[in-house]
């Protein structure tokens, strides 16, 4: 196992290198001049050139790439050309809201989706199953931004039960943090919940047809014991895959939720940086997200080995 983990970690290096090269090329070749955006429309050409030179943007692209890669090897993601803040500091500052929102979204989704998926499979082809699947389809189809605005309109403006937007750190106000996160968690969780519900139903339904489940029932085991100890446990592997990859995706994919609810997370940081053509921040964030995806894959594979004794690396 240790050797396998080491091989996988080493394998991330060329993956990250390729990701770095691709993102560097894409953003440098796409239209956008950060120097002009910083200087403003009324600035003269020589002022824009001066800004470009001070930011190192007039250097040849291979040199810029080399400098950036060298800095990465030292653990330095560079400095934002717009705000002059250290890129890693920016990411660390903005990562907490996104991670907390992603974790809470996943937890909320699992708590709701697993029982629903198991029940749907257990009562397949009944009205219970159809109702749950309609709900799941609906949840999967709703645009997050629409749902977010509807939740704000209903629960914040009309009923005055929740704040409309904003973020407070849990260390600053623990209850206030949950109060503010309730609507964003629900808005994003509905979609994730729908996905897990469908995945759970499909997997459990397949397992319930297995011989060992028939044997368990024949032995006289209680139905809930059959469902939870046998069916759900064996359905864990594909569900974990979806949850793991979904969590990684949420880290960069919560941008719409963060925009609607004004949460200062990684998604907003990425969007703002793209609009401003803040190259170091964009490059650093894409690299971090790629790293998270790769490590999440590794974590999933390691989890497989713990859950299924038959899997050995």
């Amino acid at each position: 196992m240790a050797g396998y983990v080491l091989r996988r970690i080493i394998a991330t290096i060329p993956v990250l290198l390729v990701v770095s090269l691709v993102v560097f090329a894409l953003i440098r070749l796409s239209p956008g001049d950060p120097a002009r955006l910083i200087a403003g429309m009324e600035a003269e050409e020589w002022q824009v050139d001066a800004i470009r030179e001070s930011l190192g943007l007039n250097r040849p692209l291979p040199v810029q790439l080399g400098i950036w890669l060298k800095d990465i090897l030292r653990g330095d993601l560079g400095v934002s050309i717009v705000s002059k803040h250290d890129v890693l500091d920016l990411i660390l500052q903005w990562v907490t809201p996104t991670v907390t929102l992603a974790v809470l979204t996943v937890l909320f989704s699992l708590i709701m989706a697993l029982p629903l998926g198991v029940i749907a499979a257990w009562r397949s082809n009944t009205w219970i199953d159809r109702t749950i699947m309609v709900f799941a389809s609906f949840g999967f189809s709703i645009p997050v931004f629409w749902l977010g605005f509807m939740l704000i309109w209903l629960f914040a403006i009309q009923l005055d039960l929740f704040p409309a937007a904003g973020y407070i750190a849990p260390t600053e106000d623990f209850l206030g943090f949950f109060h503010r996160m309730a609507l964003p968690i629900f808005a994003t969780g509905i979609i994730f919940m729908a996905l897990i519900t469908r995945m759970t139903r499909a997997t459990v339904l397949e397992i319930l047809r297995e011989d060992y489940v028939r044997t368990a029932r024949a032995k006289g085991l209680a139905e809930n014991s059959v469902l939870i100890r046998h069916a759900l446990r064996n359905a864990a592997l594909p569900i974990i895959t979806v949850v793991g990859l979904g969590f990684a995706g949420l880290l960069g994919g919560l941008v719409v939720t963060e925009q609607v609810f004004a949460i200062p997370g990684l998604g907003r940081l990425l969007v703002n940086s793209i609009v401003a053509r803040d190259f170091p921040v964009i490059q650093g964030m894409v690299l971090i997200i790629a790293m998270v995806y790769v490590l999440m894959n590794l974590l999933i594979d390691i989890t497989y080995a713990f859950l299924d004794p038959r899997i050995r690396y």
Partner: protein, 586 residues
């Protein structure tokens, strides 16, 4: 195992590449040298001789009495207290207004500093940090004395040792400062000299009538920094740790991308005259001023309604009617507003043909264009290129404005020999106060037979497109023909500030008559002469189709009725929202 070998080889190869190319480091900020811009050609023109006494273009200097600090004013005054939460127009990427040209940076950092002069409600530049000033009889020497007791937020006194490098920074970084430098003595030690800790002299080599008026500019006037910060490279952000001013608010916290928190500077000494916009007494009644970043327009308004925040700066104009009818809110209008217009790439064929430009000018229905922005209460038609409702409003040449004459346009196109070649109109897809105008303009031009190509792109891409030079050796070349935009008004506009008049910055509009008129304006001291020149510039702009203005629209500032102190009735914003002299009524 062989796989591992390949992986290691790839890694070593990558590191070799990095070492080969990554040899240079980005320069760290260094004190700016006096890197001069290309000298304005007009600077070599002999100065206009004048023996007339200087006719001040600003109100007479008001001697400031030594006033009380804010701390001593607080006792027994109910207005002090509370936190005002303001939603910014956009994302605040910098609080260094010298570095960033963005409105949101200027608006968010306005109260951090106390400039030498600031605009009153009539957009006249009034002394703020300055106590007294005078001009020599020959109009070549300005003497300024600052008020006593000026202190930076770090406790250091503001002296001429800070002011002089701050003004040198202004002369490098801003177009108005650049023009001032062109009129000033060449030797830095001569052009700005300290008389004592509070008094300094500005020496010109020829008369320049805009010194004081430009010192009060809300977005592009000089900021007074501590000397160690003023000497840093003005083309780099000074950095969060150097955001030190001497204004009525100090920076408490900046959570980048989330909020900026200012607290009252209780050591600040306001002027004693009544407050008028940014001039006179600027009293920080608020304990805290919090500027929030909320990306979504709908969320901005939702939070205002639920009381999460108190003011929203510049939301979509679509919300105006709803907010004006709401019993709990007022809406201040930013007047005289922004000038919606079409920019033209004059040296890109066929836009280099005057008749083609005149045809486009004749085809346009400005009223329909402005109506695309929303409620008629939020815009007005105006032929003045320096804004209606401002110091230099001129209607000269207005017969060429809003012609809405398709027949004339078709005739001009025929005379010009237009053969249907596509005209590229750059119109961003994500700018609420620009995007609608492009669609109306396209339809109007197509109705007279002009083929219009309007590629879809966001604002950032559009700005970058403006910098593209298809002919590397021709700074006036462009790969588009027209673009939709607006010209902001932050208290003042004149031919010197409006660079296109002089064709500065490699602007495709290069008109020698206009360049000469601009320099004449810069040298003029007599207001009547300045007015005459503005009229001539306005007319020439219309006749040569410098650009095509449509009208002015007003940004809106909805706010809770518990917020008191915004000027005028109905409430207005004059250039930028000011949060001094504003308080919260419990």
């Amino acid at each position: 195992m062989s796989q591992l070998k390949w992986l290691l080889f790839a890694t070593v190869l990558a590191m070799a590449f990095v070492l080969a190319c990554g040899s240079a480091d980005v320069d760290t900020p260094v004190p700016a040298t006096a890197t001069s811009p290309p000298a304005a050609a007009a600077a070599t023109v002999a100065p206009a001789a004048t023996t007339a006494a200087p006719a001040p273009t600003t109100a007479a200097p008001v001697p400031a009495e030594s006033g009380a600090t804010v701390a001593s004013m607080m006792a027994g005054e109910d207005k002090f207290g509370g936190t005002l939460r303001v939603v910014s127009q956009g994302s605040i990427k910098s609080l260094d207004r010298d570095f960033s040209g963005a409105y949101v940076s200027a608006a968010a950092s306005l109260h951090l500093h106390e400039p030498l002069f600031m605009y009153d409600s009539d957009f006249i530049s009034q002394p703020q940090m300055v106590e007294d000033w005078s001009i020599s009889a020959d109009n070549l020497t300005y003497t300024f004395t600052i008020r006593e007791g000026r202190m930076f937020h770090d406790g250091a006194a503001v002296t001429t040792e800070d002011i002089i490098p701050s003004l040198e920074r202004y002369m490098i970084r801003h177009p108005a400062g650049e023009m001032l430098k062109n009129f000033s003595e060449e030797d830095p030690a001569v052009r700005l000299e300290a008389v004592d800790d509070r008094t300094f002299e500005l020496r010109l080599k020829e008369p320049y009538g805009l010194v004081v008026q430009h010192f009060g500019l809300l977005r592009y006037g000089p900021l007074i920094w501590p000397a160690r910060i003023a000497v840093l490279d003005p083309f780099q952000d000074v950095g969060k740790e150097n955001l030190i001013g001497s204004g009525p608010f100090t920076l408490d916290k900046w959570e980048v991308g989330n909020r900026v928190i200012y607290v009252r500077n209780e050591d600040y000494i306001p002027r004693t005259e009544p407050g008028s916009n940014f001039a006179g007494a600027q009293i920080p009644y608020l304990d805290q001023l919090v500027i929030l970043e909320i990306p979504s327009e709908e969320t901005k308004m939702a939070g205002l309604k639920t009381g999460e925040w108190d003011v929203v700066d510049g939301p979509s104009l679509d919300f105006y009617q709803e907010m004006i009818e709401h019993p709990d809110f007022d809406v201040a209008l930013d007047k005289p507003g922004k000038l919606s217009n079409i920019g033209i790439a004059h040296q890109t064929a066929p836009m280099d043909n005057l008749k083609i430009r005149q045809a486009i000018q004749a085809a346009l229905n400005s009223e329909a264009i402005m109506a695309s922005l929303g409620d008629p209460a939020l815009w007005l038609l105006c032929p003045a290129i320096f804004h209606c409702g401002s110091t230099w409003e001129s209607h000269a040449g207005q017969e060429l404005y809003n012609q809405n004459d398709p027949d004339k346009a078709k005739r001009l196109l025929e005379e010009a020999g237009y053969n249907g070649e596509p005209i590229t109109l750059i119109n961003p897809t994500d700018y609420a106060t620009i995007t609608p105008t492009g669609h109306v303009i396209k339809a109007q031009l197509e109705a007279v037979g002009i083929t219009v190509d309007m590629p879809a792109m966001d604002w950032s891409s559009a700005v970058s497109r403006f910098s593209v030079r298809p002919e590397p050796n021709n700074p006036y070349s462009r790969d588009y023909h027209m673009n939709t935009s607006w010209m902001g008004f932050y208290g003042y506009q004149d031919p010197v500030l409006l660079g296109i008049v002089g064709g500065v910055g490699n602007n495709p509009y290069q008109n020698d008559v206009m360049k000469d008129l601009r320099m004449q304006f810069a040298r003029a001291i007599d207001p009547a002469e300045q007015k005459r020149l503005v009229d001539e510039i306005n007319r020439t702009a219309w006749e040569t189709v410098m650009w095509i203005p449509h009208g002015q629209f007003f940004n809106i500032l909805p706010y809770s009725k518990k917020v008191k102190g915004f000027p005028a009735s109905p409430p207005q914003i004059k250039g930028m929202p000011a949060y001094t002299n504003v308080w919260i009524e419990n």
